[in-house]
Each structure stands twice: as structure tokens, then as C-alpha cells.
């Protein structure tokens, strides 16, 4: 017996879900997500900034119109803003001209004034004068200045307005994009095979959907608006500068490639660190989520210190990567700024020299300096934005990993079950194993007639839960087929199949909602009467009335207001309400006391009427009333028959029964 149990145990060891990473079936390798998050893990892609960025931006495509509009607004806004200094320079020239003009007596012409200055030996000053608008004798023409300033104001106001429009539209676009991302992930989750979920800690997935997407959103928002404005500013400033002095512009232009070289050098290194940072954040997230979920246990076993230590390790890892990433990418800005300052110095010197020799006016050089300041600043800005962008792209890559994961086999919009579903289930030569090297179910065949109850018993690990997984098409068969009313379940959509099966699992799952909502989960359009009927049948009614809010009681996250047994009853009521042709009960009633269980059974018998039921239970009390009993061991059915038949046969079933009977006999 013990050897068989050991072998059965080995089969069970692979039964429910595979240990990820080992000998997974080659056809269903899960991409993305580390194993339990602890180690570096599977699916470690190289940091590919360019392609990922492009992919990220492609998600903006549906909003082409708005993007076009905002780019247009940005272009005009920046164009206007860059005109500003030019026009201001004009005002400065006017003022300067007025000031110098006052130094000369009225009535003189400009040429005379220049001649006088030259005669006085101040050739340089004379050259300077030739470049400005000189009206000797007259002071500053404030009417002209006033006009120029009004134009400037108008330009600036318009520019600001358009900037707002741009920001507004960008906000719309980015938010719509991020909304779309979240929704895509949600839809993706519903297409991923179950083994994907079983293979990684919950916190890892959660991190991708919350932390990573949040990061993408913030990065997009902050970089895109600045990036657009900055790039356009650079272009416009260049144009403006060219109109003033091509030579000086050349000097300014040198700074761009220099900055880019520095930026690229740093970026490749910082990029890696960002990827690390966000990956380790995912790991940390898992550790925290698990610790909080198992909080009571940690406490009761006095393991808080250890858990804290594990946390510290992950926490430090995140610190390490993030500090490196921030430092490296933070180098770009000062480097770019330095290059900008070099540029500034060069312009001041060369420009100063050119003004002194009269080639340029003071106002022009002033405008140029303002332009070059306004030119280097955005270049620096772009460089520093790369920092934020890298971080965002690293997160985007993780999101893409998830979106690229292998999905379940596509739905067949196929056969439907016509008319009343009788509920005849057959397994025909079914074979299945979770892992290549660990056989589980081999060549299994059985038939369940409509309205009959089939009880499946056997030691843990015999493959009972697996049968359920296969029947529900949570996993696909390796060989053979399963039919419902003669139709291959793989030939119909999963929805069609599952609508006809009601399931009560060992693990209750209720969401944060009212008791009423939870019962009606399977059939949202059920009437109050029907809900009450199901509640009564499952004895939920009894205890609900002792709750202050009755059916409106909200089941909270930690479920402390409803006991485990009560939750079981609610899930049973849920299954009743769904009223399917097929019932699967997976050790459902183990948390309910036998007194209630008896009553439940009676109700279930009534409901079972013309329905097929598969019951997986360890309690013989639930099994004894079944029409057919299947005894499973190591994935094979070793005995089949009714209770009386099996007892007579004197095999494993008889053994099991006797040990229970022994116990119950002493009780009576």
C-alpha cells in the first residue's frame, strides 16, 4: 500500500500545476515573467530602446488627428515664441539708437555722425554706429518702441494660448493611450492559459499593470510635451540664428553633435540600469504582496524578522539599480549644459568682436545670445528627458512582454449544443500530462450518463482535480477527446462549454461585493426570487439574516465578516443559481460541518434531478449515494461501479470504506 501511495504521490506531485521552468512542454513555454520572481528569471530580453520606443509611439497612432493638431499648435506656438526675441531685439535697437542719438546734436545726419566719430579717432565705435539706426539729436522714439512691444505681447499671448491647446490635446492623447494599454492587458489576461498564472507570483503581474503602466504614463506625459516644444524650439532658434549670422550659427551648431555623442554614450549604460530597476521593482512587489497576504501566518510563526530580511535584500537591490540609473542618466544634463556654456562663451566673444567691427548690431547680438541661450537650454532639456524616457521605455518593455505572451489556442466559433443539454459526458482515450517527463493521465475512457452522479475518489495526487481541469478546458488534452452530448468540447467555444457546467471549488473565491451580487455572479440577470431560492437551497439564508446588512453585506477583502464555511455556502448558492446541465463539485463541502452538509446533499439531490454530476470528495459520506464510483490511482481508473458492487469486490474502495465505517461505527 505504501509503495502505491508513494507512486500516486509522485503523480500528484505534478498533478495540479507544474513547477515552472523545468521540463515544460515545448509547445507551451511561457514567455515573460520570472520564475517566482526571485532569480533573474526567464525571458530576460536585452534592452532595446529604439524598437521599444517606436512600438510605444505606435500606440499613439489611433489618435493621429489630435496628434496632428497638437503638433501644429506646437509648431505655431514655438514659431511665435521664437519671433519674440527677434522683435524684442528690434526694440532694443531702437532704444540703443535713441541713446546714442542723443549724444549727437540734432540736425546732423547719420553719415556725418559716423564721420565725426571717425575723425575723433574712435574707428571701432564708428563701425558700431554704422550698424544701428541712428537719428542724431533724437532721443528714444517711444511710439515706435511701444508699437513693437505691443506686437511682441500679442505674439506671446497667442503663443501661450496655443501652448495650452497643445498641452490639453497631449494630455488627452496620452491618457487615452494609457487607458488602452490597461484595457489591452485586461483582455490579454483573459486569453492567457491558466499555466501562465500558475507560474508566477501575483505581485509580479500586478506590478506590470500598476507600477509599470503608471511609469509609462508619467514618462510619456512629461517627456512628450517638453520634447515637442524643445525640438521645435531648437529648430526655430536655429532658423532665427541663421538669419542673423551664419558664422555664429555654425559655432552653435557644433554643440549639437557633441551633446548627442555624450548622451548616447551615457544612455546605453543607464538604459540597462533602468531595466534592472523596474525588474527588481516587480520582484520587490511580489515579496511585499506575499508577505501582506500571508500576514497572519508570518506573525503566528514569529517569522517577521526573516520576512523583513528577505524584504531588505530585494529593497536594497532596487535601491542599487535605481541609484545607478538615476546617476548615470543625470550626467547628461550637466554635460549638455557645459557644452551649452562653452557655446555661450564662444558666441559672446566672437559676437562681441563682430559687433565691435560693426558687422552686427548690438540688438542683433543680444537677440542672438538670447536665441543661443534658448537654443542650448532645450538641447539640455532633451538630453535630460532621455533619462525619463529610458525609464518609461524600460517599463513599456515589461508591458509588451506581457502582451506578447503565448495565448491559449484560439476560440473555435464552432458547434453549439442544440436544444436541451442532456449532459452526457464521455472521455475517449484521454491522455494528459503537465510535464513531459511526468505521466499523469493515460488513455482514460469513461462515460457519464445524463442525470447520473459520478463520484471520483482516490488518494491525493491521483489526478482527480486534473480531470476537472480537462473537462473545463482549463488545460488542453494531449490525446483523445472529451465530448458533451456527443460534441467534442474542443469543437465548441469555451464559453459555450462552461456555460453548461457549474463548478464549486475547494478554494472559495468571492469578490468584494454584496452577498447578493456574489450569488448572482453566474447569472447576473437572475430575479430576486431566483436568488433567494438558490440562497435558501444552500442554507445561506439562515446565516445571512443574522448579519446586520443581510444580503447587502459586503464581503470584504480579508473576509473577516464571513466565516470560511459561510463562504462555501455562498459559492454553492452561486452554482445553484447558474443552474447548469453539469455539476462539478471539487471537495466542495469540506469546510462545512456534516450537519449542514447532509442538508445540502438533500438539496443537491433534488437539484441534480436530470443533471449529470461529477463529485470529487474525500468523504465517503458524500460518495455513497452516487450512481457510479470511479476509484482513481496514479491517473488511472482502477475500479468502477456502484457502492454495493465495489464493496462486494473487496478492492481499494472496500478498504477505504471500511476505515471510514470503522470510525463512524464507533460514533454510533
Amino acid at each position: 500500500m505504501s509503495r502505491r501511495t508513494a507512486a500516486a504521490a509522485s503523480a500528484e506531485a505534478a498533478a495540479t500545476t507544474p513547477k515552472s521552468g523545468r521540463t515544460m512542454k515545448s509547445t507551451e513555454r511561457v514567455t515573460g515573467g520570472g520564475m517566482f520572481g526571485r532569480s533573474g528569471g526567464v525571458g530576460q530580453k536585452a534592452n532595446s530602446f529604439g524598437p521599444s520606443l517606436r512600438r510605444l509611439l505606435s500606440h499613439l497612432a489611433p489618435h493621429r488627428l489630435k496628434v496632428g493638431l497638437l503638433v501644429a499648435a506646437a509648431v505655431v506656438s514655438v514659431a511665435l515664441a521664437s519671433l519674440g526675441p527677434r522683435i524684442l531685439g528690434r526694440a532694443t535697437d531702437l532704444i540703443f539708437g535713441g541713446v546714442i542719438g542723443k549724444m549727437f546734436p540734432a540736425g546732423m545726419t547719420k553719415e556725418q555722425a559716423i564721420a565725426v566719430t571717425r575723425a575723433a579717432g574712435q574707428n571701432k565705435v564708428a563701425e558700431l554706429l554704422s550698424g544701428i539706426d541712428l537719428v542724431p539729436g533724437q532721443g528714444v522714439d517711444f511710439t515706435a518702441v511701444g508699437q513693437v512691444l505691443l506686437i511682441v505681447m500679442g505674439v506671446y499671448v497667442l503663443s501661450s494660448l496655443l501652448q495650452f491647446v497643445q498641452g490639453y490635446l497631449l494630455n488627452d492623447v496620452v491618457n487615452a493611450t494609457v487607458f488602452g494599454f490597461r484595457r489591452s492587458i485586461e483582455e490579454k489576461l483573459n486569453r492567457l492559459p491558466l499555466r501562465y498564472f500558475d507560474a508566477q507570483p501575483r505581485g509580479e503581474l500586478l506590478s506590470r499593470v500598476t507600477n509599470d503602466i503608471d511609469n509609462v504614463s508619467q514618462s510619456l506625459q512629461q517627456t512628450m510635451s517638453q520634447f515637442l516644444t524643445a525640438t521645435l524650439t531648437v529648430v526655430f532658434m536655429l532658423v532665427m540664428m541663421l538669419t542673423i549670422s551664419p558664422v555664429l550659427t555654425l559655432v552653435a551648431l557644433l554643440s549639437i553633435p557633441l551633446t548627442m555623442v555624450v548622451a548616447i554614450l551615457v544612455m546605453s549604460r543607464s538604459g540597462k540600469q533602468f531595466t534592472q530597476q523596474w525588474r527588481r521593482t516587480g520582484t520587490l512587489n511580489s515579496a511585499i504582496e506575499e508577505a501582506y497576504t500571508g500576514h497572519a501566518l508570518v506573525k503566528v510563526f514569529g517569522r517577521q524578522q526573516e520576512v523583513q530580511k528577505v524584504f531588505e535584500v530585494e529593497n536594497d537591490a532596487v535601491y542599487d539599480a535605481s541609484f545607478r540609473a538615476q546617476f548615470l542618466s543625470g550626467l547628461i544634463m550637466p554635460a549638455a549644459s557645459f557644452i551649452g556654456n562653452l557655446n555661450y562663451a564662444a558666441v559672446a566673444v566672437i559676437g562681441g568682436l563682430r559687433v565691435a567691427s560693426g558687422i552686427l548690431s548690438l540688438g542683433e547680438i543680444q537677440a542672438f545670445i538670447q536665441y543661443s541661450r534658448q537654443f542650448t537650454q532645450p538641447v539640455t532639456q532633451i538630453a535630460s528627458m532621455i533619462n525619463m524616457l529610458q525609464s518609461g521605455v524600460a517599463s513599456a518593455e515589461r508591458v509588451f512582454e506581457l502582451l506578447d505572451a503565448v495565448e491559449e489556442s484560439p476560440e473555435v466559433v464552432g458547434q453549439r449544443l442544440t436544444g436541451e443539454v442532456a449532459g452526457r459526458v464521455t472521455f475517449e482515450n484521454v491522455s494528459f500530462r503537465y510535464e513531459d517527463d511526468r505521466p499523469l493521465i493515460e488513455d482514460l475512457s469513461l462515460t457519464a450518463e445524463p442525470g447520473r452522479t459520478v463520484a471520483i475518489v482516490g488518494p491525493t495526487g491521483a489526478g482527480k482535480t486534473t480531470l476537472v481541469n480537462l473537462l473545463m478546458r482549463f488545460y488542453e488534452l494531449d490525446a483523445g477527446r472529451i465530448t458533451l452530448d456527443g460534441v467534442d468540447i474542443a469543437a465548441m467555444s469555451r464559453a459555450e462549454l462552461r456555460t453548461n457546467i457549474g463548478m464549486v471549488l475547494q478554494d472559495t473565491w468571492l469578490f468584494k461585493g454584496t452577498i447578493r451580487d456574489n450569488i448572482a455572479y453566474g447569472r447576473p440577470d437572475a430575479s430576486e426570487e431566483e436568488i433567494m431560492g438558490a440562497a435558501r437551497a444552500a442554507f445561506v439564508d439562515r446565516f445571512v439574516h443574522s448579519l446586520p446588512d443581510g444580503y447587502d453585506t459586503v464581503i470584504d477583502d480579508e473576509g473577516s465578516n464571513v466565516s470560511a464555511g459561510e463562504k462555501q455556502l455562498i459559492t454553492i448558492a452561486r452554482a445553484f443559481l447558474a443552474d447548469p446541465a453539469l455539476l462539478i463539485l471539487d471537495e466542495a463541502t469540506s469546510s462545512v460541518d456534516t450537519r449542514t452538509e447532509l442538508l445540502l446533499q438533500q438539496a443537491m439531490i433534488a437539484l441534480r434531478g436530470n443533471r449529470t454530476s461529477f463529485v470529487i470528495a474525500h468523504r465517503l459520506s458524500t460518495i455513497v449515494g452516487a450512481d457510479t464510483i470511479l476509484v482513481m490511482e496514479e491517473g488511472r481508473i482502477v475500479e468502477r461501479g456502484s457502492h454495493e458492487e465495489l464493496l462486494q469486490r473487496g478492492g481499494s474502495y472496500a478498504d477505504l470504506y471500511r476505515s471510514q465505517f470503522e470510525g463512524a461505527e464507533q460514533a454510533a
Binding site: 504521490a9 532721443g139 488627452d172 501575483r202 506575499e290 556654456n341 562663451a345 565691435a356 538670447q370 460514533a667
Partner: protein, 576 residues
């Protein structure tokens, strides 16, 4: 709240912080000097036609630039270290504090919200800190420095700055005021998205079994939409900020030219000064721009800090006694419930009422009762997951509330109703009971728990990996591992909360037979459903609706308790 948190967690970083301030100071002064040098080039170089002067000043400009970049790089290094270190410390602090929570605080916040607060909210504060290091020092210095330098150029125009700055501050302030409630909503809605997803991932089988994917997608959509709505709202106000600032400052530039022009014309100011003034104004502009970017982060970080503060400020309802608590030397193994009552806060109907019974070392006491009778709550009182509302629970004759927590817990071994395992290996999970246990100890415990079979069949035996929650082993195996975990601990009080339910009857019996010698000297408390499990108990306590309605041996109860008779009959009936 934000300030408080920052002050507290920045303490170890005071020195680097002042270094950063100093370095930024140097860098900013350097930046400020540049326009002055430029002004000098204009006033003294260009106007006077002194080319040598121009070149000399150019060289000085270069030198100043070098100084600036060197200072900035070191400042960036220190900023990165400090702010990330701050984030790490804050996360650690929150995590540690949550560790001290009792079950009540945990359910008050909910695990998803706590998760957000430990990660996302900390990230917001950290980001603010990092960005502010870059600008908090530079911006005010540039502004103040800019103002001083500008005033040095010409005092008469200073009134302009005195008007422009308050106008700007008022405008920005108004916008920010609108955004703060938005940010509050935003963090809450992130919580909600977290929560919905967590439920969906955890219950994926049920969702699919009931074909409720469309419904779940809708639920998620609702949460998604709400989050997006508030983000849109906040973003729109942010779109106002930048153009507004630019407008005010551009208007100031225009004003400088107008009024400055008048002063130049009147001979009160030199034209080079006006140019410099413009440059300084530009500087002040850039400083305010940087501050704006920072200010955009402030509301969100402030809200996050508030949420973190709520967690840090929550005092655990179950705390170690003042002075640490007792650490008794003897370990006997007695448990006593003395007139114990418990009600949920605010509830009228108590979960437990006047429950009294005791368990002596070597005794096995079983608790049986219908669903909802309060059995799990009863058990939770022993390790102080909750504290009684009246009466007392004593272990080894001492009130559990007087114990030093570790001393209490190391006496108790609990196998909860829902066996939860942690990510790791079989061995790491078993060592949860006792980190010092040897492999031999572990196998011994596994033997008793009837788990040797399947564990030795696993390819890596004790080192076989376990997924979160233990989902890669079956329910029955999970339970046995949980039992082994308690056994490894070698406590003097065992508590089994319906721990044998997932096992088939044969295994159940074998296990209990094996347990008997292992728990011989300990107090054993079993909560169970099956009469077969408990009928050999020394004493059975029958609970109904939180009250003890019967107590005695199996035979005694058969005679005296109608409730018990009913239970036994129902099980015998089913078996027959």
C-alpha cells in the same frame, strides 16, 4: 505630513544633503556670473572697443563653466544616492510597521491598498525628493541671486520683479489648489485597479468557469475609466500651468524694455545694464520654470505622503505590553479560556460569549459547532491575532497579553484552516516553524504528517520549489506540509483549525495516529467537522452561536447534549 516624513527619513542623509546644497550653490553662482560677464563684455568691451578685454572675459567664462559642471556632477551623484536611499528607507519603515499590525489593521486597510502605499506612494515621494534636489537649491538661489544681480544693475526697476513674482505665485497657487483633490482621488483609484486585478488573477478559475470574462472586463473597465477620468482632469490643469508661467514672465520682459527704456533715455540706466537685466530676468524665468515642474509633482507626492502617514500612524490594536512583556522560563502547555467574549468593533451581536474551558498538557480538546459558530475566531485569540473584548486567554497560566510576543508565539504551533505556503522550497516553508531545524528534523515532521511519500518523490525533495500560496501542490499536500511546519516548531500548544478536511479518511486517521505520540506532552486544540476525528478527544466543546452549549467526552455528550446527538446522527446516517 509630507514635511514630517521627509524630515524623519532624511536624518541619516544630513551630511550629503548639505554637500548637495553647497555644490548647487557653487554651480548656481557660476551660472549667475555668466550674464554679468556678458554684460561686462558689452559695456566695457564692445562700447569701448576693447577686444583684449573681450577675449579675457571669454576665458573667464570658460573657467566658470568648468567649475559649474564639476560641481553639478558631484551634486547629481549625491542626489541620486540620497533620494534613492530615502526611498529605500521609507519603504522599509512602512513594511516594518505593517509587520506589527494585527489582523484588524490589515483588514482595515486591505492588502492591496497597503501594497500601493508601500510601493507606488513611496515612489511619488521619492521622485519629488530627487527632482527637488536638482532644483530646490538651484531655483531659489538663481531666483534670489538673479534678483540681487538685477537690483545691482538698476534698483529703479526692481519694483517690476516685486510685482511679477507675487502675481506668478498667486496664479500657480490657484491652479495647484485645484489639482490636490484630484491627486487624492487618483491614488485611491490606483488602489481600486490593483484590487480588481488581484481578485481577478486570484480567482481566474472561477471567472472562467462561470464564463464571466466579459463581466470582469466591464468591472475593470469601470475602474480603469475612473482612474483615467481623474488623470485627465489633473492633466488639464497641468496644461494650464506652463503657458501661464511663460506668459507672466514674457510680460515682465516686455515691461523691462518699456520702463527700462525710459530710464535709459532719462540717463538713469546704462543700456548694457538693461541687457543684463533682461538676462537676469531670463534666469529668474528658468528658475521659476524648473520650480513649476517641481510644483507639479508636489500635490501628488503630498497625497501619497498622507497615505503613507496613515499607515505609519496606525497603532496596532494588538501590541506587545509596555516593558517588553514576560518571558516565562517553563513551558508546560496549558491553555485556558476564562469567560472569553469577543465582538467585532461596532457590532451588536458578539461572535463569542462567555466561553470558558481549558486544555491541560497531554490533553486533546476538540471544538465542534456549526458554520459561523465562532470557532476560527476562538482560535485566533490564542496567538493574539485578535484580543478579547472581555475575559482572558491564558497560556501556561499567564494572560497572553502579558507575554513578550515572541515568547508567546514560540509556544504555539498553528495549522490554519486555509493552508498557505510561501514562495520558496519545501524546506524553507517547513523551517518557518523553526529556522534552526536540521534536514533530519524536517523529515521527521514530514513522516508524522504523512507527507514523506510525495516530498521524497519530488525531484529535488526538500529543495523542491513551492509557488506562492502553494498552488503547485494539491490541497491535501498543502495541508500536510502546513501540519509538518507546525510540528517542526515543537510547540507546547497545538492548534489545528479544520486541518484534516482535505485529506481522505484513511490518511486522516493515519495522521492522527502518528500525531498522538508527537503531541503527547502538549496541549492540543482541534477544530473539526468530522466526529470520527474528534471522538477520541479527551474533551469535546460544542459551540453554537458563540456560546458553549455542551462540554464533555464523546459518550457523555451523546447522553447529555441534543446538539451533539444531532451531529453524530447525521454522520452515522450518511455512513450507514
Amino acid at each position: 505630513m509630507l514635511l514630517r516624513i521627509i524630515m524623519r527619513y532624511m536624518k541619516p542623509y544630513y551630511r550629503p544633503f548639505w554637500f548637495i546644497v553647497g555644490l548647487q550653490f557653487v554651480a548656481t553662482i557660476a551660472t549667475l556670473l555668466l550674464p554679468s560677464i556678458n554684460a561686462a563684455i558689452i559695456d566695457k568691451g564692445i562700447v569701448l572697443g576693447d577686444t583684449n578685454y573681450i577675449l579675457k572675459q571669454g576665458a573667464i567664462m570658460l573657467g566658470v563653466s568648468l567649475l559649474q559642471v564639476a560641481a553639478t556632477i558631484v551634486a547629481v551623484y549625491l542626489s541620486a544616492r540620497t533620494s534613492m536611499g530615502f526611498g529605500r528607507d521609507l519603504r522599509s519603515g512602512v513594511f516594518k510597521h505593517v509587520g506589527e499590525f494585527s489582523a484588524r489593521e490589515l483588514s482595515q486597510f486591505g492588502a492591496p491598498s497597503l501594497l500601493t502605499r508601500t510601493t507606488n506612494d513611496v515612489l511619488q515621494v521619492q521622485t519629488l525628493l530627487f527632482m527637488s534636489f536638482a532644483m530646490l537649491v538651484t531655483a531659489p538661489i538663481m531666483m534670489v541671486g538673479g534678483v540681487i544681480m538685477a537690483m545691482r544693475q538698476d534698483l529703479g526697476l526692481s519694483w517690476l520683479v516685486a510685482v511679477a513674482v507675487p502675481v506668478l505665485v498667486a496664479a500657480v497657487g490657484l491652479v495647484l489648489l485645484r489639482m490636490v483633490p484630484g491627486f487624492q482621488k487618483m491614488q485611491k483609484r490606483i488602489d481600486r485597479v490593483n484590487q480588481v486585478l488581484r481578485e481577478q488573477i486570484g480567482g481566474i478559475r472561477v471567472v472562467r468557469a462561470f464564463v464571466r470574462e466579459p463581466f470582469e472586463e466591464q468591472r475593470f473597465d469601470a475602474a480603469n475609466k475612473e482612474l483615467t477620468d481623474v488623470t485627465l482632469y489633473v492633466g488639464r490643469w497641468m496644461a494650464v500651468l506652463f503657458p501661464l508661467v511663460m506668459l507672466v514672465l514674457n510680460a515682465s520682459t516686455v515691461a523691462v524694455l518699456w520702463f527700462g527704456g525710459m530710464r535709459v533715455d532719462a540717463g538713469l540706466m546704462e543700456i548694457g545694464s538693461m541687457t543684463a537685466y533682461l538676462s537676469y530676468l531670463l534666469q529668474i524665468l528658468m528658475a521659476l520654470l524648473m520650480s513649476t515642474m517641481l510644483l507639479m509633482l508636489l500635490p501628488r507626492a503630498s497625497v501619497s505622503a498622507g497615505r503613507i502617514g496613515e499607515v505609519l500612524g496606525a497603532t496596532p490594536s494588538v501590541a506587545a505590553p509596555l516593558g517588553g512583556g514576560l518571558v516565562p522560563t517553563g513551558r508546560t502547555g496549558t491553555v485556558e479560556f476564562r469567560d472569553v467574549s469577543y465582538s467585532y468593533p461596532g457590532a451588536t451581536h458578539p461572535v463569542l460569549a462567555n466561553v470558558s474551558f481549558s486544555v491541560a498538557p497531554g490533553e486533546t480538546v476538540a471544538v465542534i459547532g456549526s458554520t459561523g459558530a465562532g470557532k476560527t475566531t476562538l482560535i485566533s485569540l490564542i496567538p493574539r491575532l485578535f484580543d478579547v473584548t472581555s475575559g482572558a486567554v491564558l497560556v501556561d497560566g499567564i494572560d497572553v497579553r502579558e507575554y513578550e510576543p515572541d515568547a508567546l508565539w514560540e509556544r504555539i504551533g498553528i495549522v490554519p484552516q486555509k493552508a498557505y505556503l510561501f514562495t520558496g522550497t519545501v524546506a524553507s516553508n517547513l523551517r518557518y516553524g523553526d529556522p534552526e531545524a536540521t534536514d533530519a528534523d524536517l523529515w521527521h515532521a514530514l513522516d508524522i504528517a504523512q507527507a514523506t511519500g510525495f516530498v521524497s518523490a519530488m525531484p529535488e525533495g526538500l529543495e523542491s520549489p513551492i509557488a506562492q500560496g502553494g498552488t503547485n501542490v494539491s490541497g491535501g499536500q498543502r495541508q500536510r506540509l502546513a501540519i509538518a511546519r507546525a510540528l517542526v516548531r515543537r510547540p507546547v500548544v497545538y492548534v489545528f483549525d479544520d486541518s484534516f478536511s482535505a485529506l481522505d479518511v484513511a490518511t486522516d486517521m493515519r495522521l492522527r495516529r502518528a500525531l498522538a505520540p508527537a503531541t503527547r506532552d502538549a496541549a492540543v486544540l482541534i477544530v473539526a467537522q468530522r466526529v470520527a476525528t474528534i471522538q477520541e478527544a479527551d474533551r469535546i466543546v460544542v459551540l453554537d452561536d458563540g456560546k458553549v452549549v455542551g462540554m464533555g467526552t464523546h459518550d457523555e455528550l451523546l447522553r447529555s447534549s441534543p446538539t451533539y446527538q444531532e451531529i453524530v446522527e447525521s454522520q452515522a446516517q450518511v455512513a450507514a
